[in-house]
């Protein structure tokens, strides 16, 4: 059976999540095609063609794919779905928005956010904020799957797949795209960062968050993350949020500063390789998952540590 991976990209380049999704496709086994739908997206298509394991890249290049709305992309995928046994997308906001629409139009179930592939029809996925792992088997002819990117190591480049232009589907014209406000940062993406410095309500306010955590993150070349409480309190924008319903991360080193460790936050970071927690409350749940816990005043400890790293 052939697998179709829906690429996430910004027309100029592939998002890293696509590399993890192709990796999951390789675990399933079979021929892998990648769909790149966008506007002036030839550069992204070339990157997709270089991914290991990919045999064909299908490109639909049309103005109405620029914003990659679920309505238009789903219509395109449905028009090109024949012959595919699996349709995969990353479990990012892009894939989560799109994949269920495809599944419903195909009248099949979706398997959300898989973390392991047991066989061509059986997958493992976390439920209840990662407090349980369900092994589920699909009886549908087509498996529509979203992939938790942290669970699959990105595939390398160096391949040379063919690139085929396919016809665009009609513009559904159901959605008007008004704009995006993207957070600009020189730091690595949360999903790809080796080190993440993350802050919670214990920092008190946004000024403290930036004043204390940015210098430490600079020393590590780290990404910055936050808890829901910190985002709700306006310390940082929504795209910093790590947790059950925010971003799921698994860096080499996760530094939790002033974070108590609610179930919903732990769900987003507990697969990190090494976890450090700094919190004044020795009973905070974060210490139950931390490899190294430091009980004390973060306002003293973080600057001390930052100075030592210089």
């Amino acid at each position: 059976m052939t697998i179709l991976v829906i690429a996430e990209h910004d027309n100029a380049s592939l998002r890293a999540a696509t590399l993890n999704t192709v990796a999951a496709a390789r675990k399933i086994g079979g021929e892998i095609h990648v769909l790149v739908a966008g506007a002036d997206c030839a550069a992204a298509a070339r990157q997709a063609a270089a991914l290991q394991g990919v045999s064909l890249v299908k490109v639909a290049d049309a103005a109405h794919y620029e914003a990659q709305t679920a309505e238009n992309l789903a219509a395109l995928v449905i028009a090109n779905a024949a012959g595919y046994g699996h349709i995969l997308a990353p479990a990012t906001t892009f894939g989560k928005n799109l994949a269920p629409r495809i599944a419903a139009l195909l009248d099949v179930a979706q398997i959300s956010e898989i973390t392991a592939v047991e066989s061509v029809d059986t997958f493992v996925r976390p439920i209840y904020a990662g407090n349980a792992l369900a092994t589920v088997k699909s009886v549908d002819a087509v498996k529509v799957v979203t992939v938790r990117t942290t669970a699959f190591d990105a595939v390398a480049g160096g391949g040379a797949a063919a690139i085929e232009q396919i016809a665009a589907a009609a513009d559904t014209a159901q959605t008007r795209f008004l704009g995006r406000e993207l957070t600009r940062s020189a730091r690595p993406e949360l999903g790809a960062a080796k080190v993440i410095v993350s802050g919670g309500r214990g920092l008190g306010n946004g000024e403290n968050y930036h004043r204390l955590l940015e210098p430490l993150a600079d020393r590590f070349g780290a990404a910055l993350g936050a808890t829901r409480a910190a985002v709700d309190s306006g310390f940082v924008p929504n795209d910093y949020q790590i947790g059950q319903t925010g971003k799921i991360v698994a860096p080499q080193l996760y530094i939790a500063v002033g974070i108590s460790g609610a179930i919903q936050h732990l769900a987003g970071m507990k697969d990190s390789k090494v976890i450090v927690a700094i919190n004044k409350d020795a009973d905070a749940p974060i210490f139950q998952v931390a490899d190294y816990g430091l009980v004390g005043d973060l306002f003293e400890i973080v600057p001390q540590w930052t100075a030592m790293m210089a």
Binding site: K96, A129, L133
Partner: protein, 249 residues
């Protein structure tokens, strides 16, 4: 404008789910159940639209066992006008729920479905998008701001890189993210009033929907546990451990 809000009965968000010893699922016996937090946000938003004179009626719908009536009463205590329970003891997966909701949309003709973006039990994040697909409606998922005017919705969405704004025609499906609003506490008088609001019950068969699951759960297991870590005295010891023991710096 009528707004339909689906609400799900789930384990309370403060409670840590425990896997049953036989691996058949999660133990929900004697566990506190509540309205799914995202659905509560959706209800709050619908009620605010009614209070603002934009919506005329807020209809809450729940699919599942008889106890889901409590969930509907919670929604009505926030301000939903009436409830419909699609009652079944069968396991319901997102595609089946989307089909049930589609059948109810055909019957009730809402201009807007406002739902939670995901349920905190199965964490599927599918039903709203599936309903939009089945109805042929546009969708705006993960909404942090909704403005309805002139038969259109302008929705700010929380996406991985920041925020995105879409404008969609109605009818449509909008799914609520965490920061759309902060739901009010239901007051005692409103809880009492909710008990008297109309609550109808239908069966999946009445709606002509086959709810047979497409996915079978082979087993449910505990995730690997992290070993308890160590406490360090100060930043210097932390540095030393990270450098020489964990070898991450």
């Amino acid at each position: 404008m009528k707004i339909l809000v689906p609400v799900k009965r789930v384990i309370d968000y403060n409670i840590k789910a425990r896997v049953k010893a036989d691996g058949s699922g999660v133990d929900l016996a004697n566990v506190k159940m509540s309205i799914n937090p995202f659905d509560e946000i959706a209800i709050e938003e619908a009620v605010r639209l009614k209070e603002a004179g934009i919506a005329t009626e807020v209809l809450a719908v729940s699919c599942g066992i008889a106890a889901c009536q409590e969930t509907l009463r919670s929604a009505m205590a926030i301000g939903a006008d009436r409830g419909i329970l699609v009652e079944t003891d069968a396991e319901l997966q997102p595609l089946a729920v989307a089909k049930l909701l589609k059948a109810l949309c055909d019957r009730e003709q809402p201009q807007l479905v406002l739902c939670g973006k995901q349920a905190i039990d199965d964490d599927a994040n599918q039903t709203g998008q599936m309903l939009a697909a089945l109805a042929g409606w546009p969708q705006a998922t993960f909404a942090s701001k909704v403005v309805i005017a002139d038969g259109e919705a302008t929705v700010t969405r929380e996406i991985d890189g920041g925020l995105e704004t879409l404008r969609i025609g109605l009818p449509a499906v909008i799914s609520a993210d965490l920061r759309l609003n902060e739901p009010r506490y239901a007051t005692l008088p409103n809880i009492m009033k909710a008990k008297k609001k109309p609550l109808d019950t239908v069966k999946p068969a009445d709606l002509g929907v086959d709810v047979t699951p497409r996915l079978s759960t082979l087993k449910v297991s505990e995730p690997p546990k992290r070993g308890a870590g160590v406490k360090v005295a100060d930043a210097a010891e932390l540095m030393n451990k990270l450098r020489n023991e964990a070898k991450v710096i």
